[in-house]
């Protein structure tokens, strides 16, 4: 008897030992994560999704991949936190009076991450390759308009057939890559403040400081991005202290954060809306679409889904676009259930019922859809949510245009209102809602061809007003984007587009 008891005791002691070493080992790790002495500081960041299959700058499709590789890649110019374009690989740029000729001077001594110096040939190669292979139809379109691109000593001269006021944003999307390098898809090489170090699918991607960077060198020596494929796992890791930073957190997550990290608030830079299939009855009737706008109380929607954070939208442009954003449209459709009911009656669409297809993996959109369903039922509209997988959403809704309505957010791939507005031009291939309005097409055309800044802003605003007047979609909000940062670090700044800049983050002292 006693011997058996000893055996039991021993085995439980063994288990306790095992657990002991295990907690011991992680204690060491905790110290490592905490050391933030300047010079060799390392940041551990949580990514809410895996990277794209190709890290080639022209092949990236997901915003989540683009925003971290922002640290590795640069164009001749790049956007700053205010949405202006500053010189990067170019040391200066000049635009001719008529807006037709762009002259970029190559910065002296810019070195690629593989040690080779950037030459004019690399710049020409990058423009050619980007035009031929980019997955972005907008960038490909803008580049195909180039009349002539020539090298002149250390200058690149680009000639356009017609002025294009958003051409600088196109230039910023043309990442400068080495002409003689072929492994861009798996081991990216750029000129940015951080070098790509390694990537292990579903595990992590590591960036290290580019010590040859021409600009201000980053304070962080190493940034490790751990990959999570589910928001809860990421949050648990963050809250337990194994991560120093996470972004795109929701208000619920921030409220339940218990580790005393700093919470920063900005905007997602997304246009979240109830997108309506304008080609399908009854949403082909403007009055029905307007009725939906009146029936949805955006203020209480923000209160319910975001605790009042987030910014209201009136059209397809979000507030970070500053001068292009038309604030007057935000309250174009105040909450008015009676007006909604009478509009529905007028259109002969009482007792309307339709389906909202929502990608189930995006909790914020599902939550928003739930609130919308409740609000619509109050005016006698019967909306049903159909949660679909992301792949199904892309095939059925985005490509197949087989839907009544959907809740989703669109981001801007580059810093021009075109990135958000071009898609609703009637013959655009990504015009998911089949919006068809000749005035709108004309307004966008005008905005793109004018050289006059004021005229351009006015044309983009006109386009937004048309979207609002015709109630193309029920515009909801640009959701709040919470960034959580270990108090040992500071310096995070928001950009007006999807970008997470690690080069500004530094140990707080």
């Amino acid at each position: 008897m006693s011997r058996r008891n000893i055996a039991l005791l021993l085995s439980s002691a063994m288990l306790a030992c095992a657990l002991g070493t295990f907690s011991g080992a992680t204690m060491v790790m905790a110290d490592e994560a905490g050391s933030a002495s300047s010079g060799d500081a390392a940041l551990t960041v949580g990514l809410p999704q895996d990277l794209d299959n190709s890290l080639d700058p022209y092949q990236i499709t997901a915003a989540g991949t683009r925003e971290v590789l922002f640290n590795v890649y640069e164009g001749l110019v790049k956007p700053d936190t205010d949405g202006n374009f500053v010189d990067a690989v170019a040391s200066e740029h000049e635009i001719s009076e008529d807006g037709l000729t762009y002259t970029f001077t190559l910065r002296d001594g810019v070195v690629f991450h593989n040690g080779e110096e950037v030459t004019i040939d690399d710049v020409l190669y990058s423009f050619e390759t980007c035009a031929a292979t980019t997955t972005s139809t907008a960038v490909a379109g803008a580049l195909s308009d180039i009349q002539d691109i020539t090298a002149d000593g250390d200058k690149v001269v680009i000639t356009l057939p017609a002025a294009n006021s958003s051409f600088l944003s196109t230039v910023s999307s043309v990442t400068i890559v080495p002409a003689s390098y072929t492994d861009q898809a798996t081991a990216p090489v750029g000129t940015g403040p951080f070098k790509f170090d390694s990537y292990s699918p579903q595990d992590k991607v590591v960036f290290v400081r580019n010590d040859d960077y021409y600009g201000e060198k980053p304070a962080l020596a190493k940034v490790t991005c751990k990959i999570y494929d589910d928001a809860n796992a990421l949050f648990t890791a963050l809250d337990s202290g194994s991560l120093d930073m996470a972004f795109h957190l929701t208000v619920d997550q921030v409220n339940s954060l218990s580790n005393g990290y700093n919470v920063l608030e900005g905007e997602m830079n997304l246009v979240q809306a109830l997108y309506l299939n304008n080609a399908r009855a009854p949403f082909d009737d403007e009055r029905v679409r307007q009725a939906l706008c009146y029936a949805i109380d955006t203020d209480s929607l923000l209160e319910l889904t975001e605790d009042g954070h987030g910014a209201k939208l009136g059209s397809s442009v979000y507030p970070s676009f500053r001068k292009y954003f038309d604030e007057s449209l935000v309250d174009a459709y105040p909450y008015d259930p009676e007006k909604a009911a009478s509009l529905l009656q007028e259109a002969g669409a009482e007792g309307l019922s339709f389906t909202i297809k929502v990608p189930g993996n995006y909790t914020p959109h599902v939550d928003t859809a739930n609130v919308i369903v409740e609000m619509l039922s109050a005016v006698g509209i019967n909306a049903v949510i159909e949660k679909v997988e992301w792949n199904t959403w892309l095939t059925e809704v985005y490509q197949g245009r087989d839907f009544d309505a959907t809740v989703i957010g669109f981001d801007a791939a580059y810093l021009s209102p075109d990135a958000l507005l071009q898609r609703w031009v009637s013959d655009d291939s990504s015009n998911m809602i089949s919006y068809n309005n000749a005035d709108y097409d004309a307004a966008i055309e005008k905005a793109q061809s004018t050289t006059d800044d004021e005229e351009q802003v006015a044309a983009y605003k006109e386009a937004q007003k048309i979207l609002s007047d015709t109630a193309a979609n029920v515009y909801l909000q640009d959701m709040a984007d919470f960034v959580v940062l270990n108090p040992e670090y500071t310096g995070y700044e928001y950009y007006p587009l999807y970008a997470v800049d690690f080069s500004r983050i530094r140990p707080a002292q």
Binding site: R4, L8, A233, S258
Partner: protein, 312 residues
């Protein structure tokens, strides 16, 4: 020898059927890899181009035969999502899952056998009652729930470990093992409960056998009877059960890897299904199926070896 040959043939047939079923299931679910790869930048021309590039525009059966032929040659193909050879991906992920399975199996065996023997031979009624209740509870709770609870308790409340801070094998073996212990325990708990229960009732049954009284009457000590006679018989079903557990633990890792964010085969499988990454899914399913068949075969062999009655 004849038995081994028979088993190998049944292994091949099983793998063929499993791979065919997995392949056909992929034809039924909507969406294909191009959807995810091109995302919102997809245009009909780009989709068509990528489909022909990936060979998705060919008839279903031809694609399956192609896959089968290269699989037999030992080529697993290239992952659509990760743009690298499936074998390279698995070389990274499989060791993690195998390590987790081995750890969990060792914990199951090391903990359940001594406890089972003790529970089976004790004559204390109270201890017996407690065991029965504890056993039921542990068996009823699925490992992923243990996982979530322990992430919360040990990770957030006690802060003994950091959920999601997995250390890869190449960085530190001991670091990796220490992160895997908790998930391994979570996976092992229901198996421990089942093994203890089995061993306990098996021993109790043997205790009532006539040979025990005979041995007793010949003057053998209680512990001697237990070691030399009872355990020999009582362990037969338990060893078989443990062997089969090795298969179940391996499949259990699929879910526990999600809970603890372990970059192993299970997580790769789940995300690859979402991405419609057919070559990866097919390879993992075939590996899992092969593992289950092999483990079952091992269990059979162990049984034959331990139980003389089966040897004729």
């Amino acid at each position: 020898m004849k038995l081994v040959l028979k088993k190998i043939i049944s292994l091949i047939i099983t793998l063929f059927i499993v791979s065919l079923l997995a392949f056909l299931a992929f034809q039924i679910i909507p969406g294909d890899p191009t959807t995810k790869l091109l995302g919102t930048n997809a245009t009909p021309e780009k989709v068509a181009q990528l489909r022909s590039q990936l060979g998705l525009d060919r008839p279903v059966l031809i694609r399956y035969m192609d896959w089968l032929v290269s699989f037999v040659k030992g080529e697993f193909g290239t992952s659509y999502t990760y743009n690298r050879a499936v074998s390279t991906l698995l070389a990274d992920k499989l060791p993690v899952t195998v390590l987790l399975t081995v750890l969990s199996f060792l914990i199951t065996a090391a903990v359940s056998v001594p406890i089972g023997i003790w529970a089976g031979s004790t004559r204390n009624k109270w201890v017996d009652h407690v065991f029965v209740i504890l056993d039921q509870v542990l068996m009823a709770i699925p490992p992923f729930f243990f996982g979530m609870v322990s992430c919360f308790v040990f990770g957030i409340v006690l802060r003994w470990f950091m959920p999601g801070s997995f250390i890869s094998l190449s960085e530190s073996f001991s670091g990796c093992v220490s992160y895997l212990i908790l998930p391994a325990v979570c996976l092992a708990l229901p198996r421990i409960a089942m093994t203890v229960r089995m061993l306990r009732s098996s021993i109790q049954e043997e205790l009532t056998q006539n040979y025990v009284y005979t041995a007793r009457s010949r003057g053998l000590s209680r512990s001697g009877i237990m070691r030399r006679h009872i355990l020999k018989n009582a362990m037969i079903p338990v060893v078989t059960f443990l062997a089969v557990s090795a298969a179940e633990i391996m499949t259990g890792t699929i879910i526990i890897e999600q809970v603890f964010t372990i970059p192993g085969t299970g997580r790769l499988l789940v995300s690859s299904i979402g991405n419609r990454d057919f070559p990866v899914v097919q390879a993992i399913i075939v590996i899992l199926a092969a593992w289950i068949v092999i483990v079952n075969f091992t269990a059979d062999m162990l049984n034959h070896w331990m139980d003389p009655r089966l040897r004729q």
